[in-house]
């Protein structure tokens, strides 16, 4: 493959291996060198009048504390509780999501796709790492990794199995490759036995992966789903 023409013969598998390991931990081999490179670039761009370092701190804080998958979870929980909102979300996701205050960068053109007993939706960007930042925040490492981007379109059931998700053979899998500026949010199925939960309690069950399509929303347990499966929410 032309992708690998630059690898000297024999180093190919090593490079792929390094990449796979690396995508996992993203612990670069030369952390110090990278640190210095980034610092140098930031300094140069600041000196040339392009960057205000104080703004960088605010950007980082925004994606660490305000813009993350808890936004998307609120959208989904609202759709589960409010039939009118659900209809709006499915017909004009950008406007419906904006009504909850989530707008802007990498969420300018939103489409929501609904999982049903018949259809399971899965979102990928095979060409880069397009992801609905406004509702899900920064993409996880695996979403940007070569194995996910390569396999999601061709072997979705194998990919889902890697996330511990096994779907009935009769379920149609619908894969959305985000090749333009449309950003997709999966509206997962509401689990049975959650009829009496509040919107807020429902939101805590909804995982990031369920809104990409690589996970399902589990039934509420005493430990409450999202904390275990989803880690610390911003």
């Amino acid at each position: 493959m032309s992708e690998h023409e630059h690898h000297p013969r024999g180093e190919h598998s090593h490079a792929e291996h390094a990449h796979a390991e690396h995508s996992h931990h993203e612990q670069p081999r030369d952390a110090k060198a990278l640190e210095l490179r980034v610092r140098a670039l930031e300094q140069q761009l600041t000196d040339k009048g392009y960057i205000d370092p104080a703004a960088l701190d605010v950007v980082i804080d925004a994606y660490q504390t305000k813009i993350g998958p808890r936004n998307g979870a609120r959208v989904v929980a609202r759709a589960w509780c409010d039939a009118e909102f659900r209809r709006w979300l499915l017909s004009d996701a950008t406007a419906a999501i904006a009504s909850l205050g989530f707008t802007g960068r990498q969420g300018e053109h939103m489409v929501a796709v609904e999982n049903t007993a018949q259809v399971h939706n899965l979102v990928v960007c095979t060409l880069c790492s397009c992801y609905p930042w406004a509702v899900l925040g920064l993409p996880p490492t695996w979403y940007k990794s070569a194995p996910y981007r390569a396999r999601a379109v061709k072997d979705p059931r194998g990919v889902l199995r890697e996330f511990g998700v096994e779907l009935p053979e009769t379920t149609q899998i619908r894969i959305w490759d985000s090749t333009a500026e449309i950003r997709y949010l999966v509206l997962p199925q509401r689990p049975a036995g959650t009829e009496y939960l509040s919107e807020l309690a429902l939101a805590s069950l909804i995982t990031r992966d369920s809104m990409i399509g690589t996970g399902l929303v589990g039934r509420a347990t005493s430990a409450t789903g999202a904390t275990g499966a989803a880690g610390s929410a911003p």
Partner: protein, 210 residues
């Protein structure tokens, strides 16, 4: 001049597991958030547009050996040099992002929808064939979906055309469609059957009537 994207991965044989990650795990080295923020902050300066950024990233010769934030860093360094930003007489930035403008700039975003130059050529349900040619520039039709027959499922209005925008040739807005394919059309009769269909978002110049 030949152009090759190292980022067009759909359907390729790639080794390595997919490793799930907890929600709160955003960065894996202290420099990564800095690179993310630099990329966000360089947007308003007008140094480059999103399609130029993608072209710069996908043509990195060592793309496949880099982590995603390393890709962003290398492309940012490359563009800053190419666009003269690091020269002795850098062009004036269109806007410098200040701390108090971060929230409004993020929540405004950069919509890509534009007024169409003419009526849409295709309607919902139309059968279309994607072009087979591999253009000699940045494009957003993945290789696995070239020369394939699918169905128009959604129409999104006219959007900035990445193929021209990436080359600095203007936005030349084009109608954008979601085109869905059966798995057999893309991959042949693969076993085990996935029972799946796959869509791409395709600009009108990528399509011909089937």
């Amino acid at each position: 001049m030949s152009y090759h994207s190292n980022a067009d991965l759909g359907g390729q044989t790639v080794r390595g597991r997919i490793v799930p990650e907890p929600e709160g795990e955003l960065f894996h080295a202290p420099w990564e958030p800095r690179v993310m923020a630099l990329v966000v902050a360089m947007g308003p300066t007008g140094m480059s547009n999103i399609d130029m950024n993608r072209a710069a990233r996908e043509t990195l010769p060592n793309y496949r050996d880099l982590s995603y934030y390393e890709i962003w860093l290398a492309a940012l360094e490359k563009l800053a040099l190419e666009k003269g930003v690091l020269s002795d007489a850098p062009p004036a930035p269109k806007l410098v992002l200040r701390a108090n403008r971060v929230a409004p700039v993020i929540s405004k975003g950069s919509p890509c929808s534009r007024s169409p130059a003419g009526p849409a050529r295709y309607a919902l349900g139309d059968r279309v064939r994607t072009i087979a040619a591999k253009p000699a520039h940045h494009t957003r039709l993945p290789a696995y979906a070239r020369g394939k027959v699918g169905t128009v499922e959604r129409i999104h209005g006219a959007h900035v055309f990445p193929d021209t925008n990436a080359q600095g040739l203007g936005e030349s807005p084009q109608w954008l469609y979601t085109v869905a394919f059966e798995e057999k059309e893309l991959w042949g009769a693969q076993e085990p059957k996935q029972h799946s269909s796959i869509s791409v978002d395709a600009f009108e110049p990528y399509l011909e009537p089937a």
